[in-house]
Symmetry: C2
Amino acid sequence: MPKVIFTPQNKEVEVEKGTDILKAADQAGLYIEGDCAGRGTCGKCRVKLTAGENTEPTSSEKKHLSASDLEKGWILACQRTVEGNMTIEVPVQKDAHLRKTSLAGGVEKLECDPVIEKIELKLDRPAVKDQTADLERLLGKLGRPDLEISTREIASLPKLLRGNSYNVTAAISGNRIISVEPGNTTEQVYGLAFDIGTTTIMGSLIDLTDASVIAVSATTNPQNAYGADVISRITHASESAENLKQLQGKVIEAVNKIIKELMKETRVARDRIYELVAVGNTTMSHLFMGIDPTYLAPAPFIPAYSRALEVEAGELGIRINPGGRVTFLPNIAGYVGSDTVGVILAAGMDQRSDRCAAIDIGTNGELVLKANGRLMACSTAAGPAFEGAQIKHGMRAASGAIESVDYLDGDIVVKTIDDAPACGICGSGLIDGAAALLDAGLVEPSGRFVNPEENPDKVADHFKKRLRKGNGGYEFILVNAEESDSGEDIVLTQGDLRELQLAKGAIYAGLMILLKEAGISETDLDKVLLAGAFGNYVRKESALKIGLLPQLPLDNIIAVGNAAGDGSKMALASKAIRNRAAGLPEKVEHLELSTRPDFQDIFVDAMAFQ
Amino acid sequence: MPKVIFTPQNKEVEVEKGTDILKAADQAGLYIEGDCAGRGTCGKCRVKLTAGENTEPTSSEKKHLSASDLEKGWILACQRTVEGNMTIEVPVQKDAHLRKTSLAGGVEKLECDPVIEKIELKLDRPAVKDQTADLERLLGKLGRPDLEISTREIASLPKLLRGNSYNVTAAISGNRIISVEPGNTTEQVYGLAFDIGTTTIMGSLIDLTDASVIAVSATTNPQNAYGADVISRITHASESAENLKQLQGKVIEAVNKIIKELMKETRVARDRIYELVAVGNTTMSHLFMGIDPTYLAPAPFIPAYSRALEVEAGELGIRINPGGRVTFLPNIAGYVGSDTVGVILAAGMDQRSDRCAAIDIGTNGELVLKANGRLMACSTAAGPAFEGAQIKHGMRAASGAIESVDYLDGDIVVKTIDDAPACGICGSGLIDGAAALLDAGLVEPSGRFVNPEENPDKVADHFKKRLRKGNGGYEFILVNAEESDSGEDIVLTQGDLRELQLAKGAIYAGLMILLKEAGISETDLDKVLLAGAFGNYVRKESALKIGLLPQLPLDNIIAVGNAAGDGSKMALASKAIRNRAAGLPEKVEHLELSTRPDFQDIFVDAMAFQ
């Protein structure tokens, strides 16, 4: 079988002839980014063939790579198959390191009332006159003869008791003993809170004796290889049971990787982690649990389940205490998942009395409104534009991403993360960019670039070089080739603006429908909460300028950080909050926008930049 | 959808066009044998197409069926799909028939009040205006939103509901849905009752709609390869985790083999079997569950657990419905297991008001006494002599075993099972043999053979040839070499008599201790029940003669058959009886004979044949 070497990671793999390079990399344990599940439409899986026979570029490659790039050996990993030995250079991913601040949520102190209870026991030794069995001896001492316990734990009891002078500690979750441990381990009680995003998976290790967050880590969701959006993942999963298993395997693997990192950082032993509480959108929840998500995709968008699912860690292959409990919080609807439940918990939406909207913009957009005693939620088909997908030079918020764009002193000025040479544009940069171009008069409220040929007066001279004709209309050069990281111009295209309009229009229209249903107008809102990493970085002025947010005083628009993740932490640390979460699917009214005859009209209006 | 009728079972099923007949039979709840999982390589799934369109035979059919068979309509179920209405004849398996009597217990009619409940559901289809998730839709219809269910069952729900017009049947066990099935399967509810003996494993398949036993099968416990007695098995298991796993694997394998035979005989489909209730001694219970039995062997003989253990069939690898529940009834002590719990249930020991003793003689001997409002149990180190172990020509009760020995008209006459040439002596033959030798004056009450040299008058002349000196004292030739199956003399030795004395002495002494504890004497007993296959075959007169049983009128000594197995059937068929079983470890006073200072004295007395 031909061998492929990936550099600079120096991973080797032998694969069947005809395997595509994307799959080969996957086998080698390397993740190559892409948004289109290998269909050749996104052009993001650029790699460089440095040894081995090159073949004719495909039409997709010709579209996404310049002639000079092709000359240099750049190819698209999804477009080429392995036919002989080859060496492939994989450019180092820029998103490997997320800024830690983007992981933190807004909740300062977690309520500490954990589900897990630990009790140290000193048992009497058995004797011929006291032949009580080991398990019943333990349960008797606990005074809870009806506690459940797995055969695995019973099996280890005899040696455990005799090896530790009958002094052990029981970890109890609800009506179940999940672990029996040597000696006194009551000080060691840990849990994990996870936010399983379509794009990013974040995990926090929490000391459950005081509910303190002791370490945080994140990684890219490796399901990305099967498409950036949930629909691609559902499509892949619905094709076969193996595919579903594969997607489940990917996310479990990523979770285990994060757990390993958290353990490494904190030195907490695996067996002392007893719980994992996760949130994520409904598709992520289904895939995590290995449950067929097929019918989430077509109308009427029906999930297999809505309740919180709790399973044993060992059953899922999650590497914590094998008897540990893994709970995925409940979802509300096919496109309003437990991530929204997390937002509701973190923002206290179910308990607050002001009129408040929460907007969570991740790969999908979810909205929650609390007003006039009602708690309502909906999802919008915002698409992943704010995470850089579908945007020509879109990228995630990593080093070198253009994160802000200003119209200053008559010029358009950009700033990148870490001030590194620009390699793309992230969500906040995109919104800033549109706002700046509006300010500069280069884009009309309708979203069209001003045509510099028809309206030469409207385009300042120093912009004439930067506003040029591209494949799909005009495009504006934010950073020119000489200054960019890739050596090509970083542009904002007419297509990019259209994507942005569709995304922001969907969100704004969704909010309008919720407000209408509650019988209030946008100015009646006391607060708008921006959840998600995006909310931390978006410039509120720009968001208001392009009409993404309701017209409220800036002070009433509040970024609350990763509220979904915060919700998972809160539900991990507190039994009461976990119970509150369980009741939310019943409490929240879900509005299905596609059934609203007024939606299209509002949506079309909402697309304009005004 | 086309309809398939299966005869002679008269099961009808409607299936999607293109479904293969094997699958259709499965949906109808019928099991069609095969070894190749439908690949067409084994040729075992022969069925006859008696109505409906016949098509060209496949190459697999041509290979496995003769031209004349094909002519007559024989086909392979795995090779044909349902394209229109058809009638299929499924040949009824003619199986090796075990002597049913040896398997049957004494209970005539089982109480029918099963734990498993089946409910057919016709759900409303989801719509954009009714986006309730599949699971919540199902639970809502059941009116039991809090029922538990495995992720495996949730995972299969979406396709199951949509493939069956939202008409399904839920199988519920307690607060758990264990299976959701296409269409109406409420008529198909089966369970298994097992008696896991140290030597023999017996299984009964029970129709839980009317609690009728529809098939019975048995096999040797393959753990026998690691020793005939429980101590050998414990020793092996305690040597390593692999050994324990190996012994567990052996018993699970034997159980699966019996299940396959029961399915073959009755055509019941695997997925329609929802429960398995087992009894066995405490060691068998530990090994079945894969739980370390090490500390059962040395004093103070402590089991790892006493309660009934219930686990999912899939977890143990028991091949019934993967969500099916496997319950091992509780044990009372290290050497008083759930087999004794079964005896207590079957004999109603916990409910009856007379003075009654039950004696279960298997590989070990357990005794139960109900008297003066107390329910007591003990175990005796009887050893497996009654099953032929430790006896020179001992064997199990199989063809050719000497099953009875008489002192008739001054001669000693033997009879073998099936009147086959003698190849050994089984438990009832051993007891008869000792009694006959006592009658003939050849054995003294002390258990010693009369010495023909010292007391030539006491040995009739025609016995002088048959009573000879062996290696360990005298021995009596029951069958001489010319007439035996093996071509060697079949003898009863002095050593055999000693083994018998030890065994019967242990049992009798145990009973005496129980009676003493209850403050009554043996003649105060109203009834003695003999449990176990042994009780069916032992001649009561002989047992009285050698002093194995208390001196009561013959009518008050009653063989009750496999009472332990009966108890498992009763607990399978009735929730109330299962609950009774769960309460027995609390209710039964366990007497540890080794702690009784009076035991040795009584035991030595009890060894004499008088």
